[in-house]
């Protein structure tokens, strides 16, 4: 098996993801060139920040086409938080920003619900629910708590939903199809269940 590529952009937390995957005893390295991306055995796109800055960083590194090629190669790809939004068709956070359009969803602002004391950004640990255990969630019980920190998310039904979470509204907290996976929460910051999820991703067959 080759290495897990962690896409390293100026404003993402690639090193947190790298540390956790390395601590699982799995070979991973930061990648930010088309060659390195296309040589990766599987790929993680971490993300924090603003959709516009991550897209700008991506285009500055000239890796847009490589990411699309990778997604079509059949190898496994995981987008985390803003990395998830990057995979979608567009984001309300910056409507003119050109995301990758690899997965069929749009990203919208989460509504607050004052009456219920639910505030935005949605920050903290929240339950993730899924029906039949998707391979990404193997050995993880439905309703496990993962760490979230975001103001935008997939609030409208999408045919690639894999798991959902409630904060004011129900939103899609994991989405994917075929070889492409994406999560809204941060597995690299979700202690035991997060490590399990990353381990599952690295061992998907």
């Amino acid at each position: 098996m080759g290495f897990i590529g962690i896409v390293d952009l100026k404003s993402n937390n690639s090193k947190s993801v790298l540390n956790v995957i390395n601590s699982l005893g799995i070979e991973a390295k930061l990648v930010n060139t088309p060659d390195d991306i296309l040589q990766s055995d599987r790929l993680v796109i971490p993300g924090v920040g603003h959709i516009d800055s991550i897209v700008r960083d991506m285009d500055k590194s000239g890796i847009r086409d490589a990411l699309i090629d990778f997604s079509q190669s059949g190898r496994f790809l995981l987008g985390i938080c803003l990395g998830q939004h990057l995979l979608g068709k567009k984001s309300e956070e910056s409507i003119n920003t050109k995301t990758l359009g690899i997965l069929d969803f749009e990203v919208n602002k989460l509504p607050n619900n004052f009456a219920l004391g639910l505030r935005v950004p949605h920050v903290g640990w929240n339950s993730v629910y899924f029906d039949k255990n998707p391979p990404l969630f193997q050995s993880i019980p439905s309703s496990s708590d993962f760490y979230f920190t975001h103001s935008y998310g997939i609030t409208v039904d999408t045919n690639c939903a894999m798991a959902s979470t409630e904060h004011s509204v129900w939103f899609t907290s994991a989405a994917g199809r075929d070889n492409i996976f994406s999560v809204q929460f941060h597995p690299e910051k979700s202690q035991k269940v997060g490590r399990q999820l990353l381990n599952n991703f690295c061992n998907l067959t």
Partner: protein
Amino acid sequence: MLKRRLIPKFLARKSTRSEMGDYEVCISQNYSNLKMVGNLRSQLRIFESNKADEFLVINCDKSFRSLDLDFIRSVQDSIALLSTPIMVGGGIDSVDDASNLIDVGVDKVLCGISSLNHGLHTKIANLFGSQALSISIDYLVGPEGFKIGFNQQSHYTLSSFKTLIRDIENSGAGEIVLNRIDFDGTRAGLDIETLRTAQMATSVPIVISSGAGTPEHFIDAFESGADGIATGTYFAKLDQNPLQLRSRLFNAGIHIRT
């Protein structure tokens, strides 16, 4: 449902004793009288195994202006093997300071209100997103209203305090940390009244800090709408760890991870 957060707070300073590693962590009273309670790296590891929901690390070295590279390195080493969210504050004066911390795996930076007028908050929020920026209000309450800052340099009435809260939200902050200076280290209870004032004025999450001494104090603050409670002395001084506290809170009906 979103869980309320227990956030162990660590005041970090450069260590003069080699067995404490680069940085040691302290507890304080009124943000002075620092007392060393352990080493940063091992404390974080212990609290991750106690299922802390998040960490707050504050650089409290007096040099304060501009972030010490040794401090950043120490944070980097301390969190390298951990997977708990972490907020870091103390001396963040520029986008570069914020960027250096986020680059080593910090999730949120905590800035004071003094940088509000310089556009720093907005720059950080635009670059890293609102969820990466928390703003700390360090204050005292007196008969004439609020005094804000460690030198109590600014005075606010109740109404200008509410305006301040809204200005902070509008500057791009994704969270407000309320820190009542004279309650720090007292274990006499949190400032619930200011918590209520603040949360009526904003829609961003609020973390309250300073004064927690009993499980009832935590229950009170969570029931009054706090999203998180940051505490240093409570865990360091009492024979209480987050796991024990968590069951107390859960039994009292607070939504919390168990």
